[in-house]
Amino acid sequence: MNPGMKLLLVVLIALEISFTQSLVVNCILIAVCFVYIMVKRMNFKTLFMLIFWPMFPAVGLFVSQWLYGSAGIHFAWVLFTRIYAYVFLGATFTLTSSITDLALTLEQDFRLPSKFAYGVLAAFNLMPKIREEVQIIKTSALMRGEVFHVWSPKLYFKAILSSIQWSQNLAEAMTSHGFVEDEPRTHYRIIRITGLDWVTFVGLFVIVQAMLFLIKY
């Protein structure tokens, strides 16, 4: 499915389940997403992370609603499954779509300014370097006789300085590689939204509506 459409669908469904209270629909969504990402061959470590980390907020919400809330255990379960529904909905997008394809479709089909699409993409490509940079900053601080912790403002100050510097260098690099804001570009790979994309999008959306309308528990 077109990554832009997929993102839109995921966001719409996530929004909807924020305002409805159907335990069954949440479970169906989780199950369907689970099957989808398994079909797309996700490794078990990622799967474990997906189940493990949301456990904390999910259990927290469940317990506080169950013990202290006024809406009862059903609502506690709704909250619990909602967290997992969000996580798995998100995972269907992030684990199975390429960020490059998303940028391409946002630029070509969703008419987003190319500056935005490529800016986000370039920033995304910097992510591994940002992680490295934090490690370098910490080591560098040691070499200057300072210890930086996660809560040290100077760590963030330095990280922000680095990113400002990078953004300037990146802008220069993009410009020198011929990129000009708001100018037409050609496209090596054309990403179109196909009829099938529309059918899938509308179809899935209608099914979710029907479920939310019919299944109230």
Binding site: L121, K129, L142, H177, T186
Partner: protein
């Protein structure tokens, strides 16, 4: 004809009253290979950024005078047409690319200049082949070495096919083989593809027989002069004489006497690729050990292991105690790394704040404020207290970085390419400072450097890094 004509050109940085470029009048001739040399920080980059159309857009203020390509003033060229006139290659290999892979970056470039999609595959294949990196086509750029990245940058420029190519010290951090190769590729572009090459470099090696014109940016008059053949020959000869170390190095005794860092059964294999394997190797106290070897072979990785940044097998002992038993800060106070990238060392904003931090946290009181002020003045870094460190030139950043680490005066200082981007005069000053730290304050120094000239007085031992091992050698 695309002569690049600089006419009555003046520039000064915002909030500075000194001109860095003073009334320049010169012509970089069409289809010539022009070399622009001059000390680091003299303004070469600034001029190139203006020629490439990046300035004044990316800097606070404009210059006076004009730059024309043939008959066209650069100011009259629309933003989307600039890249049809001029392409630029930067000094830092890590900051030239917006996309993740080589092929994505190259299509990005071609899309920007509105190449027909049907023609892209052909252009990309030819450009990669020209630069000898057909194999790198699908590689992730972050995983490439510096030399490979600069080849990719050149491939992008070849694909853009602009008549004028400007290069700002493009080889400052890459290995000698890549450098020689890239310089010959540039010559090929000039001779066989009609390009005009304008290249700034203070390292004159490999250029003598290739360049057509030699321009020199004088750091005192801030003017650029075209040198005649004899003058140029003198510059090259002078540079040549600085490129060798004819010294015969002593070999350390095989014993552990005076060893400060001991590596035993040491193995370094990050990402399961064996880089270094040493049964037994010592670094010696109050000596300067120079490590040489090709780029990407693992020299910096060794430093990362010595500073506990990377895991390793076997043991490293500092002062007869395994370094794993030291707390991070305590160890960093003893074995300190001077980063290859000067900016990584900075934690503050202005020059003064940076120096103050070193004075505050220094491990001993060896250097007085007066002494440091004098060192800075010798390096031409005086009166820069309030300057933002990030706005310094690469050479100035390096000088500040070295001075602030000298102030810390740790017992062991690891220096990763400390002379990168420095002109010869600054290099000699810095080696003298380092020699003083060693002789007077007993510092042990381990230096990785591609730049060899001018180090003879400083270096005591020389170790070659090759075939996954380190060996002390008498000659270079």
């Amino acid at each position: 004809m695309t002569d690049v004509v600089i006419h009555d050109f003046n520039y000064q940085y915002p909030e500075s009253d000194k001109k860095v470029l003073n009334n320049l009048n010169l012509t970089f001739k069409d289809n010539h290979f022009s070399l622009l040399s001059g000390p680091s920080g003299s303004g070469k980059s600034t001029l190139l950024y203006f020629i490439a159309g990046l300035y004044p857009r990316f800097i606070g203020n404009d210059a006076t005078g004009s730059i024309t390509f043939g008959d066209t003033n650069i100011k009259e060229i629309a933003n989307n047409q600039i890249s049809a006139h001029v392409a630029m290659m930067f000094q830092n290999p890590n900051q030239q690319f917006a996309m993740d892979t080589v092929i994505h970056e190259m299509t990005f470039v071609l899309e920007n200049i509105r190449t027909e999609p049907a023609k892209m595959d052909g252009i990309i294949t030819r450009s990669l082949a020209f630069c000898g990196i057909t194999k790198l086509r699908d590689r992730v750029i972050n995983t490439l070495s510096g030399g490979e990245k600069q080849r990719v940058a050149l491939a992008c420029i070849v694909a853009m096919d602009a008549p004028v190519i400007v290069l700002d010290e493009p080889f400052a951090s890459i290995d000698p083989d890549s450098r020689t190769d890239l310089i010959h590729k540039l010559k090929d572009l000039q001779e066989n593809h009609g390009k005009t090459i304008i290249l700034a470099d203070h390292d004159l090696g490999d250029y003598e027989d290739l360049i057509d014109e030699f321009y020199y940016l004088d750091p005192t008059s801030h003017q650029i002069r075209l040198l005649n053949h004899d003058e140029a020959a003198k510059f090259f000869a002078n540079f040549e004489s600085t490129q060798r170390i004819d010294k015969r190095f002593a070999l350390p005794t095989q014993s552990d006497d005076g060893a400060i860092l001991k590596l035993r059964n040491f193995k370094l294999d990050p990402h399961n690729a064996l880089l270094l394997s040493l049964d037994q190797f010592n670094f010696y106290k109050q000596k300067t050990t120079l490590i040489t070897g090709a780029n990407g072979i693992g020299k910096s990785t060794l430093f990362n292991a010595l500073t506990k940044l990377l895991p390793y097998e076997g043991t490293i002992e500092y002062d007869n105690k395994p370094i794993k038993r030291f707390k991070p800060l305590a160890y960093a106070k003893n074995v300190t790394l001077l980063f290859q990238d000067a900016e990584s060392q900075f934690l503050n904003v202005t020059v003064k704040e940076e120096l103050d931090l070193s004075f505050k946290n220094r491990f001993n009181q060896n250097y007085s404020h007066e002494q440091v002020a004098k060192m800075l003045a010798q390096l031409g870094m005086q009166d820069r207290d309030d300057q933002v460190v990030y706005s310094l030139s690469e050479g100035q950043k390096k000088k500040l970085q070295i001075v602030e680490m000298l102030v810390m005066c740790p017992p062991v200082l690891l220096l990763d390419e400390p002379f990168k981007g420095l002109d010869y005069k600054s290099l000699r000053l810095i080696t003298a400072f380092l020699a003083e730290a060693k002789d007077k304050y007993g510092q042990t120094q381990i230096v990785i450097s591609h730049q060899l000239a001018g180090l003879e007085d400083l270096v005591d031992y020389h170790a070659t890094f090759q075939n996954q091992t380190l060996t002390y050698q008498e000659v270079m």
